[in-house]
Symmetry: C2
Subunit: 486 residues, 2 copies
């Protein structure tokens, strides 16, 4: 992450909801700045009614937390508002981040109602970082989750992220492409992403290239002369079957083969892609180019790709644009950040937020998430949310139970356990080393393989089990009864 | 735009689709770098089946174009790819932007099929900037358009942008808040937007504030003591009607009034907001606080706001989050960038892109857009896309006609004309002075006032007329016949 012109030394400390600062000032005024608080980030539902989400954005979260500081200009800004105390302004000027932070590793499948980020630290600090934690993790997890769906629909055919021009601003394009790569895309159309993240950028020509020459054939030949070994031709500017593909074949025969190369492919960007790709395949095969790739790239997503494959479309490679980079079908990943405990005299006092909507009641206290895997198949069986220091002994059978319908019980045997919340900051110091992006992508892929097929299907996926340990459940139940009795 | 820590001196020149560079290199190899090309950015449909869009993002586009340059590191990146010529690398090293650029002013209502940005300049340059032009204008226009809908639905009640935590990355939050302000929001929750764009940031407390104290009443009182003159209380942490509002009233009576202030308001963030707001209004009125504002802020958009108002909800102020900042109901603004002409020996040669889909056929040549306003009402009557140098004489009746159904004709009288494409760069030098954001907001509001009510309604809005001048239509028709005959 060094040397990123667009991100280096950027300070996003002021990217926070104003209420974070009014509350922070309020905590100071009430002498509560040192009070230790615990916050969970979690989410309540998976976009597109999917069976799993993919964690992403941790690296950018780390960058942000490392750079937390307030400039003189920031202090002046707050002073000008006339509502912040000098004590608070001084606090901001000397601000030093000292929280502990835990997070799921990027690429880990994530499920509703489990903490995917935990912050422990002085109330004021833990509060100030809310907006950026949510923004960072929500965005990249949204795109990684969507990419994972699209890649799955493509059933092994490569998918390239193509959506920069419709992204919601610059970092949505750049970090969206990063998240899409984590989620399984093989590359991006966006050059800066290749330069800065080493994610392969790809692309050849737009319709304007074709239009810049007197004829389509002339345009193809000119391109083939410059890129004989990477000759990908866009065939739909005028008429795909009558003109585009015949001209492409002519170009391959006259300009590519004579130079000792095989043609790489054609791209279809409009029209009926099921029909066109099948016709194109026949024409290319007959011309002696069965190895010539057919790429499709117009308005695609997991639903349309599935449909194209079901129709027997002969597409080898998908370029997926706006519907991936905006997660169009459900463009919101609804992560929230809730207070779960306070410390009093070194003791953890669990806190709960009640709601008439049962799904909105929070789970109190300081936690860990344990993922139980089947020893024989390596498949993930269930996640158990426990108290932070709790251990699950995988040498013995372990009983899990549904947190609402507690008679639903199951004994797990022959399993091993992984703790999913990894410490990334210890007293404000980064303790987690970022992995390289290709490792993260590999890790994601391995993790998705470890999910049961039933969790991965598009229609009515099996709801992956996220339970509470008996200890944690007991604390929540007690607090719930206290609060609703009062 | 000075002194933005997060954006200053950022160089986004490499934020471009890879094919822009392969084409650019190809143009150089074919000795076409100096060829003068014309490109239009336009869009084909308005999100949410709305009657108008709002232009936004021009200021950021200008920033980008002013900073176009390629670093040694960029050159090395391209060299490492092994497909770019040394001539091209040298070209990039000495890159100087020399294009002419025209754009609609920010805040102008925009309609399908009219050029909202035009670029004229050397082929290579005009091509390289495609991705960023589209990205910048698409994003902010999307959000400004959505904000305008939401603000309209609120029928005069103020709307605040509240969505940072669900934005698609950092600039989506920051520039999205900027666009929302242009579109009519009165402020944002995002602090950095206030610091850098002088757009008022607002906010008071989260549920965590309430939870940090032993009781809700204690939390309210603590807040009121710190902010007696800006006392906005969040009343839904435990039970809005039974506990939240009674505690708020108690706090107002005991902590706000004695200090000589009036309470500002309450905020409801969950539950049935129609019912709760009506009950809350009664309770506050009875307690002597008819001036106490009721703010609502959960899952709102133009549809829900309309519905709430129809139900007689007593809400004075709306905080609109995720559905605005992501334009959830349709998160894509589909602007495209198409070659429209080339110059040969100083003569403009119009270019067209054919498609079986009539809506996707481009309009060739170098253009201007004229908006015709009724002299009596100031309402916008129609836009006429003309050749760039064409004048519309508003002292005489002017006949417009439908570009497809040419028998649909209408003579306009008693009108005045405004040319909407304003030059922002002349031979690579900025010639348009950015207006301040409040002026842009004012300008937007005035322009929306000048649209007929029929264009603004949510259901089946009247399709605003965008016609071609006879001269431009004749060129298009001729080219269309030539291309389809061949």
């Amino acid at each position: 992450m060094n040397n990123l012109d667009w991100s280096n030394n950027r300070n996003l400390s002021m990217l926070a909801d104003f209420y974070e600062f009014t509350m922070a000032n309020g905590y100071l005024e009430n002498d509560m700045e040192g009070k230790i608080a615990y916050f969970d980030m979690f989410f309540r539902s998976i976009p597109d009614d999917g069976g799993y989400g993919i964690m992403a954005g941790v690296e950018q979260l780390i960058e942000y937390l490392k750079n937390l500081r307030f400039s003189d200009r920031d202090i002046e800004y707050f002073r000008s508002k006339g509502i912040f105390s000098e004590k608070f302004l001084k606090y901001l000027r000397n601000f030093k981040f000292t929280c502990d932070v835990w997070a799921f590793k990027e690429g880990t499948p994530i499920f509703p109602r489990e903490p995917i980020v935990i912050v422990r630290g002085p109330m004021v600090q833990a509060q100030l970082i809310e907006t950026m934690i949510l923004l960072t993790i929500n965005h990249q997890s949204l795109i990684a989750t969507k990419a994972s769906r699209i890649v799955r629909a493509a059933e092994g055919r490569p998918v390239i992220e193509f959506g920069s021009r419709r992204a919601h601003s610059y970092e949505a394009a750049i970090l969206g492409a990063r998240a899409a790569y984590i989620g399984g895309c093989m590359g991006t159309a966006n050059t800066i992403v290749d330069r800065d993240f080493n994610i392969p950028a790809m692309g050849t020509m737009a319709h304007s290239w074709i239009q810049s020459f007197n004829t389509e054939l002339e345009a193809f030949k000119a391109y083939a002369r410059v890129y004989p070994d990477n000759c990908y031709l866009l065939v739909d500017t005028y008429n795909t079957l009558k003109q585009g593909i015949p001209n492409a074949i002519k170009t391959f025969n006259e300009e590519v083969l004579p130079r000792g190369f095989r043609p790489k492919g054609i791209r279809i960007d409009s029209g009926d892609m099921a029909y066109l790709s099948k016709e194109a395949r026949k024409m290319l095969d007959e011309a002696g180019f069965p190895d010539c790739t057919i790429m499709a790239s117009s308005g695609l997503d997991e639903y349309i790709i599935t449909d194209l494959i079901n129709q027997g479309a002969k597409i080898n490679l998908f370029g997926v644009g706006e519907r991936l980079i905006t997660a169009m079908s459900e463009p919101i990943f609804g992560g929230v950040y809730k207070l779960t405990a306070l410390e009093e005299n070194g003791k953890i006092i669990p806190k709960i937020k009640i709601s008439e909507n049962v799904g909105k009641i929070t789970t109190p206290s300081f936690k860990q998430v344990h993922r139980l895997f089947d020893k024989t198949t390596n498949k993930a069986i269930a996640d158990v949310v426990t108290l932070h220091e709790e251990e699950i002994d995988d040498t013995k059978p372990y009983e899990i139970f549904h947190p609402l319908f507690t008679w639903k019980r199951k004994v797990i045997e022959n399993f091993y356990v992984e703790k999913l919340l990894v410490k990334i900051f210890d007293k404000g110091e980064q303790v987690y080393k970022n992995r390289n992006i290709h490792e993260i992508k590999e890790y994601t892929s391995k993790n998705i393989e470890n999910l049961w097929q039933e969790v991965k299907r598009f229609e009515n996926p099996h709801e992956y089990v996220v339970d509470l340990s008996l200890k944690l459940w007991t604390i929540k139940d007690k607090l719930l009864k206290e609060k609703t009795d009062s």
